[in-house]
Amino acid sequence: MSPPLPASDEIEAIIAPYRNAEGPLLPMLHAVQDAFGHIPETAHRVIAEALNISRAELHGVISFYHDFRSQPAGRHVLKICRAEACQAVGGAALADATLKRLGLEWHGTTRNGAVTVEPVYCLGLCACAPAAMLDDRVLGRVDDARMTTLLAEAGA
């Protein structure tokens, strides 16, 4: 069951505060994604018109950035750091074990829609690695036991 598509006026209201900003596009895209969990198709036309850019150009920008989604993620997003400092203390093994346990590849979502697992390249928690982030919550020195608790909390 997917939520109804947002109406154009809803999107217009969300992007309105940024219309006069210098370089308004990224703030608009973030605002839309914060509201809907992704950048819905309807938003493309509204934003392109507001900024007087082509939809192709807009698509080019959206697709350049890892953060922007065209589809909603799971109810929770688990980001696991893949970068060097985390690798130095077993981060890669932790990530592999987590993905394997959930039967997912990177960017995949559990079948019950609870958790999407994303790679991230450094969370600035390199002195308490391996690091992860569940939604906006930062986690350091994550081991298998901690990961089990987290996944259970998230309903994976």
Binding site: G23, P27, A88, Y121, A127, M133
Partner: protein
């Protein structure tokens, strides 16, 4: 009873919130009136969550604290007592100039900030001409802390002399390098310092608007910086009339979108303008044609956050620290497999060995150190034989290393160095902006070639070397141009790992 607990993300990641809740509960049970102040972190991450209790005006540390320690911490019987925090070896040995207030004050209290020397630099700068401000920064010897080490004063001078109806100060807070967290720690622990530095930069070059481009991976830093900007505006540190001087400067926090390459300054400017974050060819320099084509100072968080102390204490005071052409202090970030990880601010010139063996106390695993990657994902893996290298831009360069943003990631002897080389190529392939073929395609070939080597194909080693040369020669920016550095350092220093199968045969 006054108690301090960090709200820095590293402290939170290690359970600070649960400790705060336990302290409140324990105080209630014991009938103690608790005044709990949230601070940044002191940077001793292995001690986080580090609770500090004020006793006779001195802050005593307890850490790493768990919720069950709360009662004993409050009644002074805890086994986790460390003594006065400022007297701990890690703190006493530092020269905290840029990070003087981090971990000490409530990051969002402007009153606290001012009580600890905040705004003194700005007040002095308000009495100076733009040219004199630029001259002061030049005299301090400050070089960009974002990686390239470019003299900040020279950059400012270019922008100062440019004629334009609008100029900008852009702070690079993209901090994408693994092993680095100084920018995050500063923004979460002392945001007004960055704001003050940006205002001084604006006065110096004649810019009235600023942006902080802050990576989306740092939600806590984003919240603190946004709140700090609101407070600064309300208290007239920002706005049309900075501290009643009649001079204007205002700024905004902008959030990145998960692209490493957007830390490169021209890619960052494109991103800030709402475009794809592709790298721009230079010239034109951003100093002349930067954000929206206007003269723009792009500086790293630590570069800008160091400006207030230079104005508070004088350029000479700052320049008196350091080694050779690296003046002032370096904010070392010690990470990975270390017994003691965290941030350590000290004069340039300390050796890599002193950092790894002395400060960090070797590995967390207790095994021998095999390699240290200095300067992020584009930095070399250095073996123990290079530990005598003094940490300065030129000095480390002479040893085949790169100081970069001064992150050091330590690996023990179980590390698979060829897999680290592979990761360097893989990361470049994932994060390439796509503009140059040697970077975009070369990095993918690099991964394949390393896979061949790991399967025992010795002929692939010269191919990998050639590929590295091609990437170095044909890349517009340091992502493609320096990814070969970690890869070649593995081939050079850990050659026996390049062909495991064949050796076994």
């Amino acid at each position: 009873m006054k108690v301090y607990v960090p709200m820095d993300s590293a402290a939170k990641a290690l359970g600070a919130e649960a400790v705060v809740a336990a302290l409140h509960a324990a105080a209630r049970d014991a009938g103690i009136a608790l005044e709990l102040v949230r601070t940044g972190t002191r940077g001793m991450i292995w001690l986080e969550p580090l609770v500090e209790v004020e006793i006779d005006g001195l802050r005593h540390g307890y850490g790493p604290a768990a919720p069950e320690d709360a009662g004993a911490i409050l009644d002074g019987t805890s086994q986790k007592a460390l003594g006065p925090v400022e007297e701990l070896d890690w703190m006493a040995r530092q020269t905290r100039l840029t990070f003087a207030r981090v971990g000490v004050i409530d990051p969002l209290s402007l009153e606290d900030y001012v009580a600890h020397g905040g705004l003194a630099g700005l007040r002095r700068a308000l009495g100076m001409t733009g040219a004199a401000i630029v001259e002061e920064v030049t005299a301090s010897g400050l070089r960009g802390r974002g990686g390239a080490g470019f003299p900040t004063g020279i950059k400012w001078k270019t922008v100062h002399e440019a004629q334009a109806p609008q100029k900008y100060i852009v702070c690079n807070a993209d901090e994408g390098d693994s092993g680095t967290f100084a920018d995050r720690m500063l923004m979460e622990g002392d945001p007004f310092t960055l704001i003050e530095g940006m205002v001084i930069a604006g006065l110096g070059v004649g810019a009235t608007r600023g942006y902080v481009y802050l990576r989306s991976e740092y939600p806590d830093a984003i919240r603190v910086m946004r709140r700090a900007v609101e407070i600064a505006r309300k208290e007239r540190v920002l706005g049309a009339d900075v501290l009643g001087s009649g001079r204007a400067f205002d700024m905004e926090i902008r959030v990145g979108a998960g692209a490493y390459v957007c830390g490169e300054e021209t890619s960052l400017l494109n991103s800030l303008e709402g475009k794809r974050g592709v790298v721009r060819a230079k010239p034109p320099l951003p100093a002349l044609e930067g954000f929206l084509g206007r003269p723009t100072v792009v500086n790293n968080v630590i570069s800008l956050a160091t400006v207030p102390v230079i104005f508070e204490k004088g350029a000479q005071h700052y320049a008196d620290f350091g080694l050779g052409r690296s003046r002032g202090t370096v904010t070392l970030q010690i990470a990975g497999n270390v017994a003691r990880g965290g941030l350590f601010e000290t004069a340039f010139g300390i050796t890599l060995g002193e950092v790894v063996e002395g400060l960090a106390g070797g590995t967390a695993s207790g095994r021998p150190v095999k390699a240290v990657q200095v300067g992020g994902p584009l930095g070399a893996y250095l073996p123990a034989s290079k530990f005598d290298a003094p940490l300065g831009y030129e000095e480390l360069d002479a040893k085949g290393g790169l100081l970069g943003h001064a992150g050091m990631v330590v690996f023990d002897d179980t590390a698979d160095m060829m897999s680290m080389a592979r990761f360097a190529m893989e990361f470049c392939a994932i994060e390439s902006c796509g503009k140059c073929t040697p970077c975009r395609i070369g990095a993918v070939r690099g991964v394949e070639t390393i896979d061949r080597i790991r399967q025992g194909d010795g002929e692939a080693v010269p191919l990998l070397r050639d590929l590295c040369e091609t990437m170095k020669d044909g890349s517009l920016c340091a992502l493609g141009g320096l990814t070969p550095l970690p890869v070649e350092s593995v081939l050079d220093h850990f050659a026996d790992e390049a062909l495991p199968r064949r050796e076994a045969a």
